[in-house]
């Protein structure tokens, strides 16, 4: 029985009747046509004849229009009524095919979710990282090397004295403030000390940014004037909430930091973590407190122009461009270089957009982050496109089923644009539903991603704000449009007479649809293969990375950071503490040797300006950059760094004795390629005397796992006192059981001293490989997502093709084809697509692998195990996706299939 209601609805749609009256009229007329059709049929008419006569009743619409005009025609709301009608119709269509709808919504939601997650991160980090009013008018002022000011030489911090001069002399900023990067400070409570992060800022810092305190006040001008005079602090909102439980009476509370009692005067507004994108301080303190807070080697930072720790942040005067500001600041820098050449010669100043300073005060990390974001966005964009193309495939498949419906509607006088609008409404609605679900997925993904970060108050919190919502909305609607538009135009082009003749359905007339869908599918398989191979390569490379020799031992190593200086220890006390700890820990059973060093493994600090005797630096840019590590006796044995030639530091290397140093092989070879480095002399920047090289140590990894060789200079602790050092412990067996006893001994030696980052050698390697692991995780997640989507697409396209070829298959089987041969036929069809995709993906993987080879440890980009593994996995999943429809085909009952039409 034909669906009279739909036919009538379509037919009278142009009359635009008011909804309630229309529904009743349609039902009544449908009943009428139904009665008429039955009467005609029972009178002996064929289906076609009865159908034609019944439909003929609707031929002349004029009376309907003329007579209803007076009472029931709607006044004006044409457009909204039309949209509303389309929506209702779309909902009805979706209800009729719930499995299809669920499939589509799930597929798209995965794609949209991935995009929302990535966009939220980008939105938080790049688009909107600084929650202050009018951040566009803010600019960062930093030092740069004079030769290369124009282009991206990494900007350096400014010294406090220079900052003061820039403040006083510039004519381009409304106000210019300064801040340091977050530094570890020791918060001394009644119980064990806790680690917090603090930033020193100038008194006008908060007013320059234009912030209003959440509680209390910010710094007063006089609190920025006398060094050491005003121990006041402003708390991070998140820290106030978590560490201090959001206590109402926080303002006025004392806070003992690095042995100085500060008074909390205010709380910063929520979400503000300083001029930092990812990680900010718990507490801000006036720059004038530098001497009390900084480690001893930096304590002259307020007066010494060579000690640069501040980054300037200024609010430009209205109408002043950044270029003008740059010119003005550079002129001041030139004056400063003339006035104090010792500290400032060869340096100028740069004014850069504040967002560049947000990613680390020195060292331009902005570009790599931008690059990573772009790559991530492209990957998730492709995943979404895959989802779209799958859904388009499903819709194309379905449009065959709906061809008759469309043809009838066209025959009934529906306009083509009307049908396209209707179909697009359906797909955009699907897109929106998926968008809602996708937002939920995106939020879950974000939680998951953040789970990998330490959840302390001074980390950025991703913002699910209006921008993200708008993004998800636009993506969903665009998605609906993209996957809907081709099938919609295809369907509306239905050939009326052909489609109405029902036989037309089973001929293989839509080759082009299948070709397009197959091409999309091959692309998908290639892309998922590429992602899987890359993930496998990284995974294998991480496995290999653990076997790489970093130049120090990791198996029986544990390290502990301590800061006696900031805890208020003077030099003799600190020295006693170091000695005491060494003796206490050495007595612990299972400990083989103990030593101190300033650098944690893979956290090497570089120093610029090493001088080598007999070598003249040609220019400022020609300075030698080297890692400097101050170490105690027995360091080399404890850390497992081999001394190749010469000797280790010994008791004779006292403060008063001749200054000595040990250099690494790389330094020795680079500067004394033919001769012996032993006995030669070097000078570190800021040191009055040359140091004699007494030993040559094997080159190790200092900053990153498997890094290219760097220069390194070791100094004896006695000749280069430091008040913050890391304890290195070499154990006989597994270091894990000793972690707690060692910390107990350190606390026993210095109850006020904070023990930070206790780590075993294994954990050090894990941390060193952290980035690579994140890459593997992301690649695996997206690779599996893409594989899942491609399998869905493969299944859809084969199921559709089996459905269309039912008659042919039935015929084959009637003529004697076995179930096995039919199964093989369909499997071949599917797997040939998959193999094509794998081959293309393999070619792409070889190309990408070349780009990645620098990031891979000991694994070639065409590593057979990775490629074979990814291929096996993909083929297995694809085989399953092909098998289901193929099995369906092999079970076609020839009798049923041939009778069906």
């Amino acid at each position: 029985m034909p669906d009279w209601k739909n036919l009538i609805r379509e037919r009278i749609a142009p009359l635009r009747l008011e909804a309630t009256g229309e529904a009743s009229l349609i039902e009544e007329v449908a009943q009428h046509l139904d009665d008429l059709y039955r009467d005609l049929r029972s009178g002996g008419a064929s289906h076609e004849e009865a159908y034609r006569n019944t439909i003929g009743e609707l031929d002349d619409l004029y009376p309907l229009q003329a007579n209803l005009e007076r009472n029931q025609r709607m006044p004006k709301h044409d457009v909204t009524e039309g949209v509303w009608r389309d929506l209702r119709y779309a909902f009805r269509t979706m209800r009729k095919a719930p499995v299809f709808t669920l499939f589509v919504v799930l597929t798209l939601a995965l794609g949209i979710g991935a995009n929302t997650t990535v966009f939220t991160l980008i939105n938080t980090l790049l688009l909107n990282p600084l929650p202050v009013p009018d951040s566009a008018a803010l600019a960062a002022v930093q030092t740069a090397e004079a030769e290369r000011t124009a282009k991206a030489s990494a900007p350096l911090p400014i010294s406090y004295a220079n900052l003061k001069d820039y403040q006083a002399r510039n004519r381009v900023f409304l106000s210019l403030a300064g801040y340091t990067s977050p530094r570890v400070i020791t918060w001394q409570t009644h119980g064990p000390s806790q680690r917090l992060f603090g930033e020193l800022v100038t008194g006008n810092y908060f007013s320059t940014l234009g912030l209003i305190p959440a509680k209390g006040r910010f710094f007063l001008p006089e609190e920025d004037s006398t060094p050491g005079g005003h121990a006041v602090a402003v708390l991070n909102y998140g820290t106030w909430q978590t560490v201090f439980g959001g206590a109402d009476d926080i303002v006025g509370k004392p806070l003992r930091i690095n042995n100085v009692v500060f008074t909390v005067v205010g709380v910063a507004p929520p979400k503000f973590i300083g001029v930092n994108a990812v990680f900010g301080p718990d507490v801000w303190m006036p720059a004038t407190m530098a001497e009390q807070l900084l480690p001893n080697e930096m304590q002259s930072a307020l007066s010494d122009r060579a000690k640069a720790i501040f980054v300037g942040v200024g609010r430009l005067k209205p109408g002043v461009s950044r270029a003008q500001a740059q010119a003005n600041v550079a002129a001041i820098a030139a004056d400063l270089a003339r006035e104090d050449p010792a500290a400032n010669d060869g340096h100028t100043a740069t004014v850069s957009p504040i967002r560049e300073a947000i990613f680390g005060g020195n060292g331009s990390t902005f570009a790599p982050i931008l690059f990573a974001s772009a790559v991530l966005l492209i990957v998730v964009g492709i995943v979404l496109l895959i989802a779209c193309s799958n859904v388009a495939n499903l819709l194309l498949a379905r449009s065959a089923a709906r061809q008759q419906e469309m043809a009838v509607r066209l025959a009934m006088g529906a306009s083509r644009s009307r049908l396209v609008r209707q179909l697009l409404t359906e797909s955009v609605l699907l897109g929106l539903l998926s968008g809602i679900l996708g937002m939920c997925f995106g939020y879950a993904g974000l939680r998951l991603l953040l789970g990998t970060l330490p959840g302390t108050a001074n980390f950025m919190t991703p913002k699910l704000d209006a921008t993200v919502l708008a993004f998800a909305l636009i993506v969903s609607m665009a998605t609906g449009f993209i996957f809907g538009v081709i099938p919609a135009f295809r369907s509306s082009r239905a050939n009326v007479t052909e489609a109405l003749k029902e036989e037309a359905r089973t001929t293989g007339g839509s080759r082009r649809k299948v070709t397009l869908a197959s091409a999309l599918l091959v692309g998908q398989v290639a892309f998922s293969f590429l992602l899987l191979v890359t993930a496998a390569l990284f995974l294998r490379s991480i496995g290999r990375a653990y076997d790489i020799d970093p130049g120090f031992q990791t198996k029986h190593l544990a390290v502990f950071m301590t800061n006696p200086g900031p805890a208020g220890y003077a030099k003799p006390q600190t020295k006693a503490f170091y000695k005491d700890v060494r003796e206490r820990v050495a007595r612990l059973p299972g400990v083989e040797s103990v030593s101190w060093a300033t650098n944690l493994p893979l956290w090497g600090r570089t120093v610029n300006g090493l001088q080598v005797e007999g070598r003249q630096a040609r220019s400022q840019a020609d300075k030698i950059t080297t890692i400097v590590n101050t170490v105690d006796l027995d360091y080399f044995e404890t850390a497992g760094v081999v001394i190749d030639r010469g000797r280790e530091f010994a008791n004779i290397d006292q403060e008063a004795a001749a200054p000595v140093a040990i250099v690494n092989e790389k330094l020795a070879r680079d500067y004394w390629p033919n001769g012996e480095a032993l006995g030669k002399r070097i000078r570190l920047p800021g040191e009055p005397q040359m140091r004699q090289i007494v030993g040559i140590a094997r080159t190790a990894n200092y900053s990153n796992w498997a890094e290219p060789p760097q220069l390194c200079v070791y100094l004896p602790l006695e000749q280069n006192y430091s008040d913050s050092m890391a304890l290195y412990v070499r154990t006989k067996g597994d270091p894990e059981p000793l972690m707690n006893p060692v910390q107990r001994e350190i606390r026993a030696a210095g109850p006020q001293i904070l023990v930070g980052s206790p780590r075993t050698g294994r954990e050090i390697v894990d941390n060193g490989l952290f980035q690579a692991k994140i890459v593997v995780t992301l690649l695996t997640v997206f690779g599996l997502l893409a594989l899942g989507l491609a399998s869905i697409g493969l299944y859809g396209i084969l199921a559709y093709s089996v459905n269309r070829r039912k008659r042919e298959i039935g015929l084959r089987m009637a003529l004697g084809a076995t179930q096995g041969s039919v199964l093989g036929l369909i499997l071949r069809q599917g797997m040939s697509l998959v193999l094509t995709g794998v081959l293309i993906g393999f070619a792409a993987a070889l190309l990408i692998g070349r780009l990645l080879s620098r990031m891979l440890y000991g694994v070639s980009a065409s590593d057979p195990i990775s490629v074979a593994g990814a291929a096996l996995m993909l083929l297995a999943v694809a085989l399953l996706a092909c098998y289901l429809p193929a099995r369906g085909a092999s079970r076609v009952d020839p009798l049923v299939a041939l009778r069906e039409e």
Partner: protein, 114 residues
């Protein structure tokens, strides 16, 4: 506006009378009405659904007939129409004027005496 085919003019004027007359003895649904008109006229008079239902709705709006959805077992629900008291009065007056009209026409054309 499409021209009204000849013959329709007559139908238009008499349509209301026809429908009201058919509802005089019992309530009927739309299909029933259209079938009766066709059968009783020997096929000479036919109402398409596009004319019939707007007419029914207009009569209902004028208060001459009343439509009611009725559900019977094993059937789709149908809308039955019955005459209102006002409709009975209107039918009487229309029947009277039709008789008068036919009589006048007959007298003028001389059919009665032919």
């Amino acid at each position: 506006m499409p021209p009204t085919p000849p013959g329709q003019e007559w139908k238009k004027g008499s349509a209301e009378l026809l429908v009201l007359s058919l509802l005089e003895d019992q309530p009927r649904h739309g299909y029933d009405i259209s079938k009766l008109i066709q059968i009783r006229s020997g096929g000479a008079l036919r109402f398409h659904v596009t004319s019939l239902y707007p007419l029914l709705h207009r009569l209902e709006k004028q208060g001459l007939i009343e439509g009611l959805w009725v559900e019977k077992a094993d059937q789709r629900r149908r809308r039955y129409y019955k005459l209102t008291p006002q409709g009975i009065a209107e039918l009487r007056s229309k029947q009277q004027s039709w008789k008068d009209f036919v009589a006048v026409v007959n007298r003028v054309t001389g059919i009665e005496h032919a």
